[in-house]
Amino acid sequence: MSFVSGLLQPVLTPAHFISLLGLGLVAGRTVVSAQVQTLAAFACGLVGGLCAIAWGIGETPANDVLVAMAGLCGLIAATGISVSVWFAAPVALVSGAALGFDSPPDAILLREAMLMLIGTACGGIAALTAIGTAASALSRPWHGIATRVTGSWIAAIAILVLALRWT
């Protein structure tokens, strides 16, 4: 059960989901090799962040960083520009790490907590793969419009969330 809870956390936590959605939209507009590298960077960041959580790192501003990364990805998706792997991979690395830092397990038992962390890693990587693959398969003109509109929504949500937290 803990594994499933962790697996679903990236898609059921709103801040995590908009971050994955934004990053997936950006990654989906890159070439296939860049998509793989971006996904690998995200996976490295996510596993690193989750390991830090497992070692008992304290509270971090990871959620704010994650929302800021979502906003950045949303803006890129809204403008419709294609970015290089040199931009997408570092953004994915930071997003993955922030998602990991922001996913402390709510289980008390060590085994349950570890299962939840492993589930979060699998869920985050699977969700980003699915969103990126879906985004790269979008080829019709209205798909591009939908991508841009979704990007603008993500960016607007991120701007408002950060404003609400910082004021």
Partner: protein, 149 residues
Amino acid sequence: MVAVGLWGAVLGPPAIWLLPVAFPLIMALGGVLGIAAVPIPRVEVGIAISAIVLGLMVALAVRAPLAVAVAVVSAFAIFHGHAHGAELPPGADAIAFSAGFVIATGLLHVCGIGLGLATRWPAGWLAVRLVGAAIAGAGVIFLRAALWS
């Protein structure tokens, strides 16, 4: 919000998608001003005028240049965003409020664009212009209420 989508549909590509992309972004900046309690005078009047102006744009099928259309919509988006940001209920969940606010706005744009697709047919074209006139009429009512409050 519906008028933004309708006007985009009346103007055609690229305005049909550029207006709904620009509006939430500028509205969010207006929301930041509202959250930060930066005063904007007569916000309710601005919102009422936005309904009148955008409704008239649709009713009269004004084919403004793209830059002008984006500028008009962006200016009004500031008022809408400020009103929502300033009226945020205390203790509201940041991400739930923001997501609800933005997605509701976006879906109203989508409704407007959907209605605006009826401009392909002569009867639909007339219906869209009538909807624009109705929005402008509602804006006049809002303006009276805003000026008297």
